[in-house]
């Protein structure tokens, strides 16, 4: 195939733009779900929240269930439902654990910002939920009393 120099340049540049645009999108999605390594390493609640983009403001729009008294700290059920518009991320933190951050959940388009799971709580502690919506951190917390530690002996 014979191609004129001008049309060849136009062809190459349009192909490059298309490739760049398609390459960008999975990259962006990936960047959002990258493991917040610093937040998982943090040994204090404030440091973990700061690493997540905190400190954050308390919010009433988060429904957060956890038992007031947990007999077994190794299995403490937590349920979270966020009605903050644009919820992207929900993190669960246990203040008194050796590393407070337990889990971070990411909600892509079409996911309901609600999650239920079970976490370990080493001793009587405040449980904090950090909801990230439109780049802002919203907090809710509850105290859970543990009669048997969650980290074994």
């Amino acid at each position: 195939m014979r191609m004129h120099r001008r049309s060849f340049i136009a062809f190459v540049s349009s192909a490059a733009t298309a490739a760049a645009a398609s390459a960008l999108w999975p990259l962006r999605a990936l960047a959002d779900w990258v493991r917040p390594v610093e937040a998982f390493k943090a040994k204090a609640l404030e440091d973990a929240l700061a690493a997540l983009g905190g400190p954050g403001q308390p919010s009433d729009a988060i429904v957060f269930h956890s038992p007031e008294i947990a007999e077994n700290g190794a299995v403490v059920p937590v349920g979270i439902q966020s009605s903050i518009p644009g919820t992207e991320q929900i993190a669960i933190l246990v203040e008194e654990n050796p590393t407070p951050l337990a889990a971070v959940f990411y909600f892509p388009e079409g996911a309901e910002p609600t999650v239920n799971t079970r976490v370990k709580v080493s001793k009587t502690s405040r449980l904090v939920v950090a909801v990230k919506a439109q780049g802002k951190l919203h907090l809710a917390s509850r105290q859970t009393k543990v009669t048997l530690g969650g980290c074994g002996g």
């Binding site: 779900w33 337990a102 892509p108 996911a111 074994g152």
Partner: protein, 103 residues
């Protein structure tokens, strides 16, 4: 290879609720055995749930998620015949995927 996950899904109008029970020891790396040697950490670090090819939930976990983790989540959409799959990866690089078909 780890044991299979148990997955259940229920469709209610426009949303689908999914419950997953994984089988994993979730060792924190802080516990010691009877002789006082530290049991090395082995826990799930990443979880991804998909409905067909669409990612409906992603999660990054630390060691503080309970042993044999339970997870419940919801997403909008999901029709009969759609495949919901859940994948986890642990600190040893092991991973497992299980799936069910929506009815």
């Amino acid at each position: 290879m780890a044991n299979p996950m148990r997955i259940r899904a229920a469709r209610n109008d426009a949303r689908t609720d999914v419950k997953v029970l994984m089988s994993h020891p979730m060792e924190t790396g802080l516990r010691k055995d009877a002789s006082g040697t530290v049991i090395p950490a082995l826990h799930i670090v990443q979880v991804t749930a998909k409905c067909n090819e669409r990612v409906v939930l992603a999660a990054q976990w630390g060691p503080a998620v309970s042993q044999n983790p339970f997870l419940q989540f919801s997403f909008t959409g999901g029709a009969a015949g759609d495949v919901v799959s859940v994948t986890w990866t642990d600190t040893a690089g092991d991973s497992r995927t299980d799936q069910i078909t929506l009815t």
